[in-house]
């Protein structure tokens, strides 16, 4: 120890404790996929298209095959022979593993080389000659449905345009009526630009097909190992019991590691063809240009209200750019994810949205980056619209929100688009955020600064204050409504207490940094009174964990956390029966106190969970119907989604000469129900706030009109550093979910969802402009101040 003071003892249950997983990470002893080394392992590399739209005329791989260190060259033709050239997408479409007919975005997979080492595999890519016939790229989503537009998906029989789907939610005619009689209507177009989650670890896999046993083992950067295993079985026709997916330590996911990428499949094919293990690890440019992007929603919003600021209706039309293949990862029945939660935190009379999805010559994906299945876009839309309305009415944006927020007595609240919000006290959260920020004083300071005479020399910074309030809908989800490719979104858990009273819990979900090894031990500890350090958490290995759909959409605690809690309570119930046999009393005469069952009225007559565990494995005569050992399992089917929420306030200073935005303060009040480990929850919020700040101010994956990706490296795709991030100021309220066994609502994505609007609202407040699209780079802010904000998704000539 290097500390003089003794560290506090771990709580036996909920509370702050340091993480069990940190011991390996701080020593550099984590095991990420690229750290996996197997005897005789080969290395794969992917040849990618340099064009966004082109027909493949011919391909010559002979020189690559002749390279002395190359073991195999795989093309679309190879895969066609194996019936693996195309695989099903997660959204009723198909995705090529390797292009066979055309390339449809820059960075698409064209060929795969397997060689003796990393560098030789890359060398051999240079030796492959591809003859392309360039086709006109469709880069502007707003032109994708124009009659003259090139047809991207001519692989789909009869396809004559770039249309994917039309979808709507809410009551159109009721909403139209609200707008017809509205006293005030404000309209605003806005783009939530394409961004990329960019976890620090890129995607990769090590595949090993054991020809003797016929068992395929895949170490893979996946947030959903079980779903991947089932999909491999369905797509490749491999028997599911002969596939083992291991997701070891994952260096961040944020939704980027939900889908199955061609590289994973190619590593598998490479291993099958060469008989050796094959590793594939993408580089940063491959990650940014080809894997799951997020957002890319072109939104037309309309908000209706009375003159005194009572919001009555919301109407939205969305053009959703899904890239070249519809491969969004979301519950099957919801092509726009949960976007229809766009009524946000307000009590409206009516609301309606229409979403049209289109193909463009961009990478596929679309639901990623801590978005809670498009809740991010929805929250941004409504929170910007409310600020636009405040601007129109000349009202303070916090006051306008307080006037319209749902009231505590309205819960459970059925929204106008069909969501049943579980619980909340919204005004309390916003008032707390205003107290922490000192909202009145901030407004007074802003007023003072605005009235102050202009200084000599450089102009004074413009101060802005932005408010946002968000409601999330997470924890997908009830299996009768929610599935991914037919797999219901329920998750399993197993809890087993060993004879000596130590325990193991096995999870279907997969941490990418969230700290499951600690949090889930604490959930069991809280239920059974076994110290968390005595509880091993097993996850990320399909051979050793129960089935479930994995970690994304803030679903680990809402779904898997519930499964673990219920399983642990079943263990507790069984322990009661065993304790009754040990104490020779009726089970009904026993009472539970964390860690032991005791005889009511006689607290010294008791058996601890550890004593019970030993007895459960011993010769004790067990009550009728009770089997030996001490374990239980649960498959948790959530009765409803959970609805975490929060109130955020951002203070910025904008340099009017350069457009540079400095985030001075950021206050975040979150309500995610009870906090299992407050330290971890706060860490999740911090990270999400940085994400939101990044998207608001600097992150964008844009394209030029020739189809070139302009965000293909960290020199071009800017991420926030320690210098742009303020010291986050957090607050909390606690409103348990009534239907979750622990009352917990999930928190992983809250801050990413809620924060971008607060930053943008603050900048608009500072510069006195109603709207400019993200990212609010210095150039964009400066242009907005001149009344000429840029379109940020395209570099237009």
């Amino acid at each position: 120890m290097t500390t003089a003071e003794a560290p506090p003892a771990n709580p036996v249950g909920f509370g702050r404790m340091t993480r069990k997983e940190d011991a390996r990470f701080v020593r550099g002893k984590g095991t990420y996929v690229d750290d996996v080394v197997l005897p005789g392992m080969l290395h794969g590399a992917v040849l990618r298209s340099n064009l966004a739209h082109a027909r493949i005329v011919s391909m010559d791989t002979s020189a690559a095959e002749a390279h002395p260190k190359v073991k195999a060259v795989i093309t679309g033709k190879t895969l066609e022979g194996l019936k693996l050239a195309w695989m099903p997408s997660l959204s009723h479409d198909v995705v090529p593993v390797l292009a066979t007919d055309k390339v449809r975005y820059q960075g698409q997979e064209v060929a795969f080389v397997v060689a003796e080492d990393r560098y030789s595999a890359r060398d051999a890519l240079e030796l492959i000659e591809v003859d392309y016939e360039p086709l006109p790229p469709v880069m502007d989503a707003r032109e994708a449905l124009s009659p003259g537009s090139a047809v991207i998906r001519d692989d789909i029989e009869g396809k004559a345009d770039n249309h994917i789907f039309d979808w709507e939610a809410g009551d159109r005619s009721a909403t139209d009526q609200v707008f017809e009689r509205a006293e005030v209507v404000v309209t605003q177009d806005m783009l939530y630009p394409r961004v990329h989650p960019a976890p620090m670890e890129t995607c990769g896999a090590v595949a090993h097909m054991d020809k003797v046993s016929g068992k395929l083992t895949i170490w893979c950067t996946t947030q959903a190992p079980h779903a991947h295993r089932t999909l491999y079985a369905l797509v490749a026709g491999l028997p599911e019991h002969k596939i083992r997916v291991i997701s070891p330590d994952i260096g961040g996911g944020f939704g980027n590691k939900v889908g199955i990428y061609p590289g994973y499949v190619l590593a598998v094919v490479g291993s099958i063809l060469t008989g050796a293990p094959v590793k594939w690890t993408e580089d940063r440019s491959e990650n940014l240009m080809s894997t799951s992007f997020a957002r890319d929603y072109h939104m037309h919003g309309e908000i209706a209200s009375t003159r005194d600021g009572r919001i009555t209706g919301l109407r939205v039309k969305v053009l959703a750019d899904h890239g070249a293949f519809n491969n969004t990862a979301q519950p099957s029945k919801f092509p726009a994810g949960f976007f229809h939660v766009f009524t946000g935190s307000y009590d409206l009379e009516a609301a309606h949205c229409e979403v049209t999805g289109v193909y463009t010559n961009k990478a596929p994906g679309g639901v990623a980056y801590a978005c809670s299945f498009r809740v991010t876009e929805a929250v941004y839309l409504v929170e910007r619209m409310v600020d636009c309305l405040a601007d129109e009415l000349g009202m303070d944006p916090a006051e306008l929100r307080l006037k319209n927020l749902l009231r505590p007595e309205q819960f459970p609240y059925m929204s106008k688009t069909g969501w049943e919000y579980d619980s909340g006290d919204y005004p309390r959260a916003l008032r707390l955020a205003m107290d922490i920020a000192g909202y009145e004083q901030l407004r007074a300071e802003q007023e003072r600064r605005r009235r102050a005479p202009a200084p000599q020399g450089a102009p004074a910074p413009l101060m802005g204050i932005g408010v946002s309030f968000f409601t999330e809908t997470v924890g997908a989800g009830p299996r009768k409504h929610m599935d991914i490719l037919g797999l219901g979104m329920a998750d399993g858990a197993e809890v087993r207490v060993h004879p000596t009273g130590k325990a193991v819990v096995r999870l279907s979900v997969q941490t990418q940094g969230q700290g499951h090894e600690t949090t889930f031990a604490q959930i069991v500890a809280e239920q059974l009174g076994i110290p968390p350090e005595d509880i091993e958490v097993v996850h990320g290995d399909t051979d050793n964990t129960p089935f479930g759909l994995g970690t994304y959409g803030s679903r680990s605690t809402p779904v898997s956390g519930a499964a673990v809690a219920v399983a642990a309570r079943r263990v507790r119930d069984k322990a009661r029966l065993i304790a009754s046999a040990m104490l020779e009393v009726d089970p009904d005469d026993l009472e539970w106190e964390k860690g032991r069952w005791f005889v009511r009225g006689n607290p010294t007559s008791a058996r601890t969970i550890q004593e019970i565990a030993l007895a459960a494995h011993g010769p004790l005569e067990l009550p009728e119907g009770v089997e030996g050992h001490l374990d239980a399992q649960c498959v948790y089917d959530p009765p409803n989604l959970t609805y975490p929420y929060g109130a955020y306030i951002c203070v910025v200073d904008v340099d009017p000469g350069t457009g540079v935005v400095k985030v001075r303060r950021f206050v975040a009040v979150d309500d995610c129900g009870p906090r299992i480990n407050p330290m971890i929850v706060e860490g999740q919020v911090h990270g999400g706030l940085a994400d939101g700040l990044g998207m608001a101010l600097m992150q964008v994956i844009a394209f030029d009109t020739d189809g070139n990706c302009l965000g293909g490296s960290f020199m071009d795709y800017l991420l926030p550093t320690s210098m742009e991030c303020p010291s986050w100021e957090l607050g909390e309220t606690v409103t348990p979910s009534p239907h979750h066994p622990l009352g917990c609502k999930g928190v992983g994505e809250s801050a990413t969802v809620g924060s971008p609007a607060a930053v943008v609202n603050a900048v608009m407040d500072a510069i006195g402009v109603r709207h400019a699209d993200m990212p609010l780079t210095p150039a964009q802010v400066w242009r907005a101040m001149q009344g000429r904000p840029l379109r940020t998704d395209l570099a237009l000539a």
């Binding site: 290097t2 011991a23 620090m200 260096g251 971890i680 990270g687 320690s722």
Partner: protein
């Protein structure tokens, strides 16, 4: 070169990056590979006592030099205060940027034992973390600064 105090001799291709040499040839996988463009810093190690981004240093350039990686932070089974600080203040989540962050933090504290928050932020500004929003990394370095004295005192006591 020496790596964490041990002499290492290998024949390598002239183009081999130091990060790949450390990871693939020496099995020191605590140093990570993140961006190839010197932007992210997950590959940060020390060369002759100075932090470098090992994705933009050739292994051959490190010949004859001293390299220190995250595996060399712990001394005789004793965690460096920086490592302990990252645990105590929750300075890491996925752990991928952590080794590089800690190497930079150790370098900072060796030169400036009591840095301000601004100095800590400046020191790690060439490195990216996607999980923590940096706040707890700053706190972790502060923790290490507060506890360094105790650690050093013990080292003096235990010195022969």
């Amino acid at each position: 070169m020496t790596v964490n105090g041990e002499q290492v001799t290998r024949d390598v291709e002239p183009r081999l990056l130091l990060v790949h040499f450390l990871r693939d040839d020496l099995g020191l996988t605590g140093t990570h590979w993140g961006c190839d463009t010197s932007n992210c810093g997950v590959c940060a190690v020390w060369m002759d006592g100075e932090p470098v981004k090992s994705c933009t240093v050739l292994a051959a350039m490190a010949s004859g030099h001293e390299i220190r990686t995250v595996e060399g932070l712990e001394r005789e089974g004793q965690l460096d205060p920086v490592q302990e600080g990252f645990i105590q203040e929750h300075g890491l989540q996925c752990g991928f940027c952590t080794p590089g962050m800690m190497m930079t933090a150790r370098y900072l504290l060796d030169r400036n034992p009591h840095p301000t928050d601004e100095e800590i932020r400046e020191a790690i500004s060439g490195q990216i973390c996607r999980c923590t929003g940096y706040e707890n990394i700053v706190r972790a370095v502060r923790w290490a600064a507060r506890h360094a004295a105790a650690g050093q005192a013990r080292e003096e006591v235990s010195a022969p």
